[in-house]
């Protein structure tokens, strides 16, 4: 178990904290191009800082502090101008660097505006997402991970989970939870739903429980490779030979991103790249659909809502949220099967040290030649293995079961075109299953 002080060091991401300093050495995705196309301003909380993002009338993105420094009006109602954002109250205008460039009510010869500067962060677009740099200059390049640059048809799912980012990431270093949460418990969830067999809808079928025989982890240049051998398989299986990658510090492969919003909330991004089909139009960044993934929870009587527990994401989300806003690791009891979590914590701590020493941490890209399309090894590199796997849609067009991509608008559109079932409406929870939430500072 960790001490409370160690737990704080790993989980707190505000300005000046050791983990906050590490996280500020990475470009953080915080919104999508489509979201700002629909509404040119948007409230953002990122690494514990309350901000407003905007797209000005020249098409340039900005990210600045939430309140105007004049009279503290919220800039969410700000007016996009040809350059930057103007406060609706008295017209103060700010450029993308945070400089005050207009104060219409001051005398024309006043130099007051030259002494006003707000917190502002650089923004870049990649893969339909907007990325913020909140660290020191010189800033590195936005990493061009393969998923964000390869050909395909994209959509982006998101949710704000009411829990700390680390309990989500530690799940990715925990292979055996798959055997229990996503197989044994999943079968129980199907039983609760009265779905004991694949009845031709999108529901996940009951699956056979398979035990892990061996787990392994390797730190490599981009993060950690997680490996597993199920009973009946051997080390030649892609699950062990190629493994499943955690891209440091906050991505599972490149399709699930866990962005620390603040100490007790995480922006979860499901980044889907569907195979492009004949007749699919080219997609501009502003065309990439965005959808919200529903979170499981309890109803007004405190009873679990099972409708959202039929897929891996619903099951994971429940587990992470139920651990509390910041899980108290001074009460945990780790065993041998948790050695991946320990390795990840050691890697986090090693990278925090690098930052404290003024060095670049892992996955800092400053050489354009090494930042064209960054591939990481993965089970799907094995073509034979990949053929047996499902994407968001199966070969007949039906939606793959057991994944949050069943909420994907592109997957649903393709299923409808093929005459297949799509998910019904679900009941919204009134709580997150944190029946007795553990206070972060308890």
């Amino acid at each position: 178990m960790l001490t409370k002080e160690q737990n704080d060091r790993f989980t707190h991401v505000g300005p000046g904290t050791p983990m906050g300093n590490l996280m500020r050495r990475y470009w953080q995705p915080f919104a999508t191009v489509k979201q700002l196309e629909d509404h040119p301003t948007r409230a953002v909380t990122l690494l514990g800082e309350h901000l407003v993002t905007y797209k000005d009338r020249s098409g340039v993105y900005g990210l600045m502090q939430e309140f105007c420094p004049h009279r503290n009006v919220n800039m969410l109602w700000g007016i996009p101008e040809a350059e930057g954002l103007r406060c609706p109250y008295h017209g103060w205008q700010f450029d993308q660097a945070g400089n005050c460039i207009d104060q219409p009510a001051e005398s024309p010869d006043s130099t007051f505006k030259d002494r006003i500067k707000v917190t502002a962060y650089p923004v870049e677009e990649l893969g339909g997402m907007l990325w913020a740099w909140m660290g020191p200059e010189p800033r590195p390049m936005v990493p061009r991970w393969e998923a964000f640059v390869k050909e395909g048809v994209r959509d982006i799912g998101w949710a704000i989970l009411p829990c700390n980012w680390l309990q989500i990431m530690e799940n990715s270093l925990d292979p055996t939870h798959l055997e229990w949460l996503h197989l044994y418990f999943s079968n129980y969830a199907m039983e609760r739903l009265g779905k004991t067999s694949n009845d031709g809808t999108f529901w996940r079928e009951t699956v056979e429980h398979r035990k892990h025989e061996k787990i392994g982890f390797d730190i490599f240049e981009h993060g950690i490779i997680k490996r597993r051998v199920y009973e009946g398989d051997d080390e030649n299986h892609p699950n062990w030979r190629l493994g499943h990658v955690i891209c440091f510090p906050e991505m599972l492969r490149q399709d699930q991103i866990r962005v620390p919003v603040d100490d007790t909330h995480t922006l979860y991004i499901w980044y889907n790249v569907h195979q492009k089909r004949e007749g699919d139009a080219d997609q501009r960044p502003e065309d990439i659909p965005v959808y919200q993934v529903p979170l499981p929870g309890v109803d007004a009587e405190g009873v679990p809502i099972w409708d959202l527990m039929d897929n891996n994401s619903g099951q994971d989300n429940y587990a992470w949220m139920s651990q509390g806003p910041i899980t108290p690791r001074w009460t945990e009891h780790l065993g041998e099967s948790d050695k991946g979590i320990i390795l990840y914590r050691r890697l986090l701590r090693e990278q925090m040290k690098l930052v404290e020493e003024g060095k670049d941490p892992m996955n800092t890209f400053r050489d354009p030649a090494k930042n064209v399309s960054i591939h990481v090894p993965h089970e799907s590199d094995d073509q034979e293995w990949q053929r047996g796997r499902r994407g968001p849609n199966q070969a007949d067009g039906s939606i793959s079961t057991g994944q949050s991509t069943k909420y994907s608008p592109i997957a649903q559109e393709r299923a409808k075109a093929a005459g297949k079932a799509t998910p019904k409406a679900w009941r919204e929870p009134v709580g997150w299953g944190q029946i007795h939430p553990r206070e972060p500072e308890a």
């Binding site: 001490t3 060091r9 061996k214 390797d218 041998e336 948790d338 050695k339 701590r349």
Partner: protein, 71 residues
């Protein structure tokens, strides 16, 4: 971890992520004397200090950038 597999001089990771060197298994069969090589910034445990820790705190033999085990 099976306590009988611990040998003096072996480097192990503890449940909090600390790295220790086993100095000796105690006769009570409950504790192990370890020397901390890295205490994960715990100010109460200086690097180089020796402590008795319960067996169950010892998770695995330290393998550097690699970790594996049977489940």
């Amino acid at each position: 971890m099976n306590p009988t597999s611990l040998k003096s001089g072996m480097q192990c990771t503890l449940a909090d992520g600390s790295l220790v060197e086993v100095r000796g298994v105690q006769s009570d069969k409950v504790h192990v004397l370890v020397k901390y090589l890295d205490s994960l910034d715990n100010p109460k445990i200086p690097v180089g200090s020796e402590h008795q820790v319960p067996f169950e705190e010892i998770i695995a033999e330290y393998m550097g950038a690699h970790a594996e085990g049977r489940t």
